[in-house]
């Protein structure tokens, strides 16, 4: 059972969990995120964008893996820039990388334990926190199986378990639904809704229907800039009947993106 710490009930002194102003991030020499503005609070935020739109680079930057090249970024009220101390922020951060690397000889439990240790979870809380995280993703039957013996969907769920093991205030999931079967996707959406009640979740995906089903709002990026923000309902309503797509949300996505591209060209 998790106990309430003083920090949990302290009033928060910032407005947005994630706030970016004119953020630029480089992926190699390429400016993958190019003047992006973002203000995200508690809730489930879907990050939509075509391949190469800068989603993964943005996620990496928000996870403090790579440093911003320019602009301002603050996470949980603390400024993130070159040379800043990130230890405090990182304790409250959960991150599932798109290329989720793991140690194949570890069991799921050992791996999640290791991440809990990396996140500075107090030693006496680790076994409980690990069990809870593994149960939340429905992997308890496989908790003592080696990582290399897991299927793609199970690996993804193990990845989500390691991301939520420290009860993060900011949770970044990069393409979490890849490899999940339809039933697991439904469970996963439920999990997203529960997690989004008390933390700031940013879920990057290219599956528009995931966003429509589980997100409280949508951020669409195109070529490293914010192209559109709104709720899934607004996105569905924006769809022109002539736009390509099989659902209102998909048509909305195509319409909004098309409109943004036209503006960008002008």
């Amino acid at each position: 059972m998790r106990t309430v710490r003083a920090a949990d009930i302290a009033p928060q002194t910032y407005r947005w969990s994630i706030e970016a102003r004119n953020l630029t991030v480089k992926a190699g020499r390429h400016q993958a995120v190019n003047g992006l503005d973002l203000s995200l609070g508690i809730g489930v935020h879907g990050l939509l964008g075509a391949n190469g739109a800068g989603k993964t680079t943005l996620m990496r930057c928000l996870a403090t893996v790579i440093q911003p090249a320019g602009g301002e970024l603050s996470l949980l009220g603390a400024e993130v820039s070159r040379g800043s101390r990130l230890r405090g922020i990182r304790r409250d951060l959960g991150y599932l990388p798109q290329a989720f690397g793991y140690y194949p000889r570890f069991t799921v439990r050992e791996f999640v334990e290791y991440v809990a240790w990396l996140k500075e979870t107090p030693a006496q809380d680790i076994p409980g926190a690990v069990q809870r995280a593994v149960e939340r993703v429905g992997l308890e039957a496989k908790a003592d199986a080696k990582m290399k013996s897991l299927s793609g969907g199970m690996l993804r769920r193990a990845g989500i378990a390691q991301a939520i093991v420290n009860d993060p205030a900011v949770l970044l999931l990069d393409e979490p639904t890849v490899g999940l079967d339809p039933e697991q996707r439904l469970d996963f959406r439920d999990l997203l809704r529960t997690l989004g009640v008390e933390s700031c979740l940013l879920v990057s995906t290219h599956l528009v229907e995931d966003v429509a089903a589980a997100c409280t709002d949508v951020v669409m990026i195109h070529e490293g800039r914010t192209a559109w923000t709104g709720t899934p309902e607004e996105l569905a309503a924006a769809g022109a009947d002539s736009a390509p797509g099989d659902s209102p949300t998909e048509r909305g996505y195509a319409t909004v993106l098309g409109r943004y591209r036209e503006q960008a060209v002008r």
């Binding site: 996870a63 790579i66 990130l86 230890r87 570890f106 290791y114 990396l118 076994p127």
Partner: protein, 261 residues
């Protein structure tokens, strides 16, 4: 101190709506400080309360006993996290053994063990902080315990594994650790510090290894003389360099930002 009447406590315990709020507050304030009345309260509660608590406790014990046994935290795994890395210290040891063999075969040449000892620790040190070799580098570099501390921890583990091997091999060829230990520490600290400058500890370690090979090992093998940098007289310089590097490393631990890559 006046105690509330047992009948009032009984009415409070059963949740009687007839007791007004002011009386309830006064009663609760009294109960907080009076153990005697609290036991009266417990007795006034549903008579079967203790039976209920006992049944609940038995039920919980049974559920815990029937569930999976608690799994002990495996601490040993943390050092071997680097389980994928073990080929690197092993290849370093193999290198030392080969040098030892060559020393035995060609006793007239300068000792290879001594020439290589300062750079052998760089092999596993390069591996502990290399993106291509650590599959979970994105996780470690976004974790609070990541960064320089984790790098030092892993480096220390590798050094502790290698130094005894080097010591034994050195003593077998007649060289005390005093000759190579300080250069080894200096080169290791140098690659940790050089990492951020050249874009990775692995690159810095490889660069220092190549420089050492070109500037010390090759000339020494050509001239068949032990290099000047590995004599007792040069140890004072190595001590100064090592102390300076360690001091800078210490300052970085306190003041450097946490972006590790």
């Amino acid at each position: 101190m006046t105690h509330p009447a047992p009948s009032l406590i009984a009415r409070y315990a059963t949740g009687d709506r007839g007791v007004d709020d002011a009386t309830v507050w006064a009663l609760e304030a009294h109960l907080e400080s009076c153990a005697g009345c609290r036991s009266g309260l417990a007795a006034a509660l549903a008579p079967d309360l203790h039976g209920l608590l006992d049944r609940a406790s038995v039920g919980i014990d049974a559920a815990i006993g029937g569930g999976p046994a608690p799994v002990p935290v495996s601490r040993g795994r943390r050092l071997t996290t680097t389980a994928r890395l073990w080929p690197w210290p092993v290849s370093a040891v193999v290198l030392v053994l080969m040098a030892l063999g060559l020393d035995r075969v060609y006793p007239q040449m300068p000792s290879l063990v001594m020439l290589l000892a300062p750079v052998v620790p760089l092999i596993p040190v390069a591996a502990v902080w290399s993106r291509p070799l650590d599959p979970a580098w994105e996780l470690t570099s976004s974790a609070p315990r990541g960064g320089l501390w984790l790098l030092l921890r892993r480096t220390l583990a590798m050094m502790l594994a290698l130094l005894p091997v080097l010591t034994v091999a050195g003593l077998l060829t007649g060289h005390s650790p005093a000759v190579w230990l300080l250069p080894a520490l200096a080169l290791t600290a140098g690659s940790l510090l050089g990492g951020p400058l050249v874009g990775g500890v692995d690159r810095a370690a490889v660069a220092l290894g190549v420089i050492w090979a070109a500037a010390v090992v090759v000339p020494s093998l050509q001239t068949r003389h032990a290099p000047a940098v590995l004599t007792a007289g040069s140890q004072i310089w190595w001590a100064l360099v090592t102390a300076a590097l360690v001091a800078v490393l210490g300052a970085q631990l306190r003041h450097r930002g946490d972006f590790s890559h």
